[in-house]
Symmetry: C2
């Protein structure tokens, strides 16, 4: 166990940890036993070696100067820092075409990779025709069952894939039920109480950003 | 027409433009005719008024100090800056469950909002059982037809929703065919030639980031 530096770690740093982890996942799967330099980790993650060293230094001392990182050790430390060393139970609200695709993708990935640990255990929708339908082993429940299921299943994270106008109401219900982290796919900025963290996956916004770079 | 400031505009600035545009879309739809302060625009977009003013100043002078912005004028200027004032034709490669959901979502949004202008006009897959299948009016083509269709349909942007190991090959083919902007959903960093812009929508990475904030 290593000691983290005191002080608040910026979101930009946290956002790069999954990139490093993915590189380490690949190298671990490929059976790499030799030490990994910050140069190589940076190259594979698409950042400079200096930034790799600076980012990791926030969380402790993971390798020896000029020697490198042990792939398996650094991987397990990053998984611990990201809380991915234990199962995280997730609710998905809004089983339309996007919600359905997200549910299937994550359910299958969880089944294939035993230590993926991001586990969708409940699906919710308001459409009475959908309630009771089973998607990859998980039944769709009505939104009214949210508080009971969050509590009973130990759900701490949620994905929102409902239309924009319904998203804030869903976020309120999730926060009230005790969910602490929300990934929002609705194109709207959500307000949540302190202690709840929201990230927005704005797919149309991503396309609009890209359009900026056309003809430049 | 206003003059843009010289110099390179950072990606962080560009990423906020769709947020501002969404606020302006909503206000325009609600029929707002009174001037919009940077305070209100910032509040609705979730950034400080100072940052709103700084971001917009990169592109010109859109409002009078202490008076505010004309909603319709600023909206049309932002749409022009983002190249969203004209139709942008998009190819989507990989019509699995995520690709299918993305295709349907964007096709329907394009039909409902005439000036959304992000138009998926071609779908590609390598699975011979899928080729010829029609999704919301667009047939699925084989990847071999990519160069011809990109050229014939005037496609300049693409979405990649194939498995990680196939994504770089698809990106190479898209770049060779003349596509200039790619939104990548595969969990892998793509290499593209100069002049081609890539954004990554890493949905599992987003969840992994969120997990960091649990129990903190």
């Amino acid at each position: 166990m290593v000691m983290a530096r005191p002080g608040k770690i910026s979101e930009a740093v946290v956002r790069r940890l999954p990139l490093y982890l993915r590189v380490l996942d690949e190298l671990a799967e490929a059976g790499q036993t030799k030490l990994l330099s910050s140069q190589e980790l940076g190259e594979r993650a698409g950042v400079t070696p200096a930034l790799v060293r600076k980012d990791l230094a926030w969380f402790g001392e993971f390798g020896k100067q000029g020697v490198g990182y042990d792939v398996h050790y650094l991987r397990s430390e990053l998984r611990r820092i990201l809380h991915l060393d234990k199962e995280i139970r997730i609710a998905l609200v809004g089983v339309g075409s996007l919600g359905m695709a997200l549910a299937r993708y994550h359910r299958r990935r969880y089944l294939i990779e035993p230590d993926f640990n991001l586990h969708i255990v409940a699906l919710f929708d308001t459409d009475p025709r959908k309630i009771g339908e089973v998607v990859d082993g998980v039944p769709i429940s009505s939104l009214g069952e949210l508080p009971v299921l969050v509590d009973r299943l130990g759900i701490r994270m949620a994905m929102i894939a409902v239309p924009a106008e319904a998203a804030q109401g869903v976020a309120d219900r999730l926060a009230a039920a005790g969910v602490k982290a929300i990934l929002n796919f609705a194109p709207v900025k959500l307000k949540v109480p302190p202690g709840v963290h929201v990230a927005t996956a704005d797919l149309s916004g991503e396309l609009q950003c890209l359009a900026y770079y056309l003809d430049r």
